[in-house]
Amino acid sequence: MSLTRTATVDASDHERVPLWRDPAKRAIAFQAVTLGLVFMLSYWIFSNAQSNLRKQSIATGFGFLSKEAGFEIGESLIPYSAAETYFRALSAGFLNTLKVSIAGVILTIILGVFVGISRLSKNWLLARIAAGYIEVLQNIPVLLQLFFWYGLFYTSLHGPRKSFNPVPGVFFNNRGFYFPFPEYHSAYPAMAVALFAACFAGCLLHKWSRTRQDKTGQSFPVMPVALGGVVGLPLIVWLAYGMPIRLDTPHLAGFNYEGGFSFSPEFVALLLGLVLYTSAFVAEIVRAGIQSVSRGQTEAAMSIGLKPGEVLSLVILPQAMRLIIPPMTNQMLNLTKNSSLAVAIGFPDFVAVVNTSINQTGQAIEGVSLIMIVYLTISLVTSSLMNRYNKRTAIIER
């Protein structure tokens, strides 16, 4: 009797599981509730802030972006004056952030890889210097390093009238680093076209040599030929135009140097501080990546007759890259985010310009949201690009 009853209960349970005991449905319910709570919280906060701002008669919205900014920016990649709009001012700041970030990331990778490999060097002195570099720079807060470099520039370099003049036309003073720059000539756009064409041809050449090597096993010296094209083609165009060379040399005009091409001390100090700090971390990442590839791989590669350069580029680095790329992405993002410290040493980056805008318009929430959106976008774009690259280098699992 009792046996039969148990059996019946079991069977019916199996057919109609109550909702709260079905893990899949339960999970959906929990997620829906969580989502609802998050939405309610956001809505409550948003409407609350809105009504409070109205109560304090603080204007809201992004209307201020089209108003005249009325302040100057020290350096800008796009033409900018105080008569332009806030939007233009913010764009100038944004481009300055990109400028220091992109230059910083490239230099950091170069320096970091160099220091990382040096630390593994068999040369005792080189390895010790690299280790000291890493230990010192990693452990000093980056803001202090920025103050140090900035202070070093304006205290060690003289004023414009007593500029340090290492080579004719090049001037270093506490207002900046000035270099001669070629004046515009119609040959230059043509040279740029030639450069692009050479790059494109190089890519095609690489593809062709790959296919040929796969088929016949014969290799082709792609790199020297492509490099020759990239340098040679624009050079031929330049010669064809009659070698135009008129340099715009910096000259003292009033208080400061004018003309030529210049870097401000703020930019150089920021770039230097960020690159030295971040490259110390990158060096450790590179070292870890290389050390993670077992010694057997090198020996195996050598035993099948690869040259030392090929061992590194075909066997060691592709495997080390898998470990290097993800933390390297983090360091790139760190550098970009740390560039917001620019405001401390007077480089007009995005945050600095937004700060000025907030103070002139009083629209803090809009300004802070803009900062968050911009940094989030830069970070997401960087990491999605790096993730794509990472997928290509990652182990293909079967």
Binding site: S42, I58, Y154, Q360
Partner: protein
Amino acid sequence: MKFAGWGFVLLVAVVMLSLAAAVFAGETLGAVKSRGYLIVGVNGGLYGFGMPDEKGVWRGLDVDTARAIAAAVFGDPDKVKFVALTTQTRFTALQSKEVDVLCRNATKTLTREAESGLSFVAVNYYDGQGFLVPKKLGVKSAKELNGASVCVLPGTTTEQNLADFFRSNKLTMKPVVIELNTVLNQAFFAGRCDCLTSDISQLAGVRAVSPNPDDYVILPELISKEPLAPAVRHGDDQWRGIVEYAVLAMVAAEDLGITSKNIDEMLQSSSPDVKRFLGVTPGNGKALGLDEKWAYNIVKKVGNYGEVFERNIGAESKVGLPRGLNAQWKDGGLMYAPPFK
């Protein structure tokens, strides 16, 4: 991607929540009284206006203004907690009720009052933006500054005035905008810039504490009007009245000839104005919601405007500013208090 998106929503939420949470509270006077002390936002590093001395005691014109408000509310000028604020945080701190009053050399402007939810009260220093240059530069007027590098503090009307002055005179310049006063001043004195621009009061204060004050000169041009005034939040008119009349009481006392030294004799004065001012004839205190002795306490314990000016920034002090626009109206200045009745 998804997680980052949520992170963003949460971040916005946190920012707004912190703003929203601060708005619920009672009337300011009640809150201040039940707390037992006043919280005032000041400049932490401006000699003569708001800066602690070697012993850690806060000194300055703005600091004494804050003490006057405390003397009016509590009868004790020391019941104040000073909070050092940067130009960036000062208005937000006031809006979010972190401070009761802002006495931080802030310029009264239309948009700050109309759009930012602030009310500026009576002016405690009429200032103007000027230029500090090294004497050896040989510049006699700001109009000779074409092409100069200019050190400037960010996010004040200073940046805009500077751009306006150079634009209207068809001159060019390169601003170097640094957030921290100390870093900015170091950069200027090391020669990174040809001139430093700010309010004259600020320039005088910076020069006073510089290594070689005599090597620097303030150019004669005033390129802006900068009426510096304490500020309170919109919406609490009683509190606004108290702060306004605490400032004006110091001006009125000087006008009436009442000083911290002679005030006890003045209690016997037969002048109806003096009697009303000192609360011998009651009325003013009740109207403001304060003790009748409020003005007496201000002058007795802090001083009248002239005393406070001379002590902190006057010609004999290290800052060495002339009274100028800040003289009494009878002496050709702009300091003018309405009748206290």
